[in-house]
Amino acid sequence: MIKLFSLKQQKKDGESSPKANNQKKASAAQLRITKDINELNLPKTCNTEFPDPDDLLTFKLIICPDEGFYRTGRFVFSFKVGPNYPHEPPKVKCETQVYHPNIDQQGNVCLNILREDWKPVLTINSIVYGLQYLFLEPNPEDPLNKEAAEVLTTNRRLFEQNVQKAMRGGYVGGTYFDRCLK
């Protein structure tokens, strides 16, 4: 058990003038994301793109599924890691327009670990695998794009055709999709 202060122990007088940005140490969020990035173990269908190598908090993930409805497509996700990582999950948006039951036109992604089931023990790698899984097994039970979910449940062939149509670029229903074949 330690006894902290010997009496009369005077601390060094501090200077009270604000001096911003003079820290010697990276923040805890920075340390954690650095570790996550170094330990990224991407499946062969995934790739990352860092626009600024010094900024590990902002990057893109590119998924090119090699099986399932979405094979031959190329889908870009943006990741923004905040100062409260890993207490809070990174903000992830799908930048590619995609006909998918769990992704809407604004790029919102319905993946439990991105919101309600996020835990600090999870890593960037967990999210990558979660996103990849969404393309292998789109989940009509938790839809963001209700029409797509309905087609998937009632007519898998039509769903597959719609996915193809959207990936080639064109209208599905009333919505226009940009081409995203790799």
Binding site: E15, A28, L31, F50
Partner: protein
């Protein structure tokens, strides 16, 4: 003078009973003495972070316990809604700095007390400021701020040959409340569990599944979240991000949420609820703040005086249904990225000759490291810098040129710390460069 002494004897009589004689709960090394009271009153410097609900209680408690060298830091200004529990503030103070008003109030009311206010963010000060304190006590509602001060106090630790220099430890007492629940904990940086060791213990923000919000809303909160997450970015009425303090924004969200609630037959959307959900407000309860602050202030007193063994190390409190408290020892994590990275000194003969690839070679070939493909980052002038990461293609391509640069050319200095991660170890290694020929130091 003698009269003053007498007044002082009476005024601090209760403290003297604890400090001038031993008791069954005394710290094993406690030596009762009248000097201890002197230490509290004239030497011991305590920093209170936050002058809100907990902060007001803390400053008052500490001032009345005899601490005279108090500092308080808070970046916020006083709002009308604070006044029901932040009792150092009055209606006329609305719009003024919390730290400044709180300090002035205590200095006026508590004779001899000198509270120094700091109306700014904790991040505005560097280590020269934080070094001056004996103890830091936090009444914060932000985890980011907690983690920042936690990291700061850890960075002040001194290690000599891997042994922690105990005089460099500044204990941190962390209090927190959420409605009828609260916690208090004692952190001895480098010795006991830190904020990042136990990040899981802080409750996550309330979130709802996106698909529920989008398709099967049942609660008024679901409707508000829908407008906030989906409708706002889509329609973007003012072309900017939501500002929770802008009544126009709140009104817009309120109206749209009402429409959506009507559509799904949901009742309970009110303007106040919209404000609460958008700003993530958890209602504050004055009595919980008072209890938690009292526990924290007692711990400050125990640490400053050694009169009692401190809390070991985490107390939870809940008065939703009767009163429940529980104390447990949260464990320090061996691989905590905040408190387990003890810098290892690395002597460098000639930093203008040593290239980054030589350093990496050292990590791979030296028997004490034996790494496979280490990733190296550092922190220069308040900015993260990636020196080399081989495992990410886009980073490798753009940091490859660093390999042939010397440490000096990379901007590294004597004392610079390099973070090294490698798949051979779950831990991150911190290496502190020691330039052997010190005259090269820039």
């Amino acid at each position: 003078m003698s009269e003053n002494q007498e007044v002082s004897q009476n005024r601090w009589g209760h403290l003297r009973k604890v400090l001038e004689r031993p008791g069954p709960f005394s710290h094993p090394e406690f030596e009762p003495s009248s000097d201890i009271l002197d230490f509290i009153m004239s030497t011991c410097k305590v920093l209170v972070i936050g002058a809100g609900g907990l902060g007001c209680e803390l400053i008052k408690d500490l001032a009345l316990m005899g601490f005279k060298q108090l500092h308080v830091i808070d970046m916020d200004i006083i709002e009308l809604s604070n006044l029901n529990r932040q009792f150092l503030f009055r209606h006329k103070d609305i719009g003024l700095s919390k730290a400044e008003v709180a300090a002035a109030f205590i200095n006026k009311k508590v004779k001899g007390c000198q509270v120094t206010p700091h109306y700014c963010k904790i991040q505005d000060y560097d280590e020269t400021f934080y070094k001056q304190f004996h103890i830091v006590v936090c009444g914060l509602d932000s985890i980011v701020a907690r983690r920042w001060i936690n990291g700061m106090l850890i960075s002040l630790l001194n290690y000599e040959d891997n042994a922690l220099d105990q005089t460099s430890i500044i204990p941190m007492i962390d209090g927190g409340t959420e409605g009828f629940k609260g916690h208090a904990r004692v952190i001895l940086p480098g010795i006991s569990a830190c904020i990042d060791c136990t990040l899981d213990l802080y409750p996550p923000q309330v979130t709802y599944p996106l698909c529920t919000i989008a398709n099967t809303p049942r609660l008024p909160e679901h409707c508000i979240e829908y407008v906030k997450i989906i409708q706002w970015p889509k329609e973007n009425p003012w072309g900017i991000a939501i500002d929770g303090d802008d009544p126009q924004h709140i009104t817009w969200i309120y109206e749209k949420s009402l429409e959506r609630a009507l559509q799904f037959n949901i009742t309970g959307v009110t303007y106040r609820l919209v404000q609460g959900v958008v700003k993530n407000i958890i209602p504050a309860v004055a009595s919980t703040n008072a209890v938690i602050a009292a526990v924290c202030a007692t711990e400050v007193f125990k640490l400053a005086t050694s009169c009692c063994v401190p809390l070991n190390n985490y107390l939870v409190f809940n008065d939703v249904d009767g009163i429940y408290t529980y104390t447990f020892e949260s464990e320090k994590k061996d691989n905590c990225l905040a408190c387990s990275l003890i810098p290892q000194n690395l002597p460098v003969e000639d930093p203008s000759k040593m290239k980054l690839k030589d350093l990496i070679e050292l990590f791979c070939e030296s028997t004490s490291y034996q790494m496979k493909s280490p990733g190296l980052t550092t922190y220069i002038n308040g900015k993260n810098k990636t020196l080399y990461i081989s495992t990410i293609k886009s980073i490798e391509e753009r940091t490859r040129e660093n390999l042939t640069k010397s440490l000096i050319e990379l901007g590294l200095q004597n004392g610079s710390e390099i973070l090294v991660t490698d798949l051979t170890s779950p831990n991150t290694l911190t290496v502190r460069l020691k330039f052997v020929n010190n005259h090269i130091e820039t």
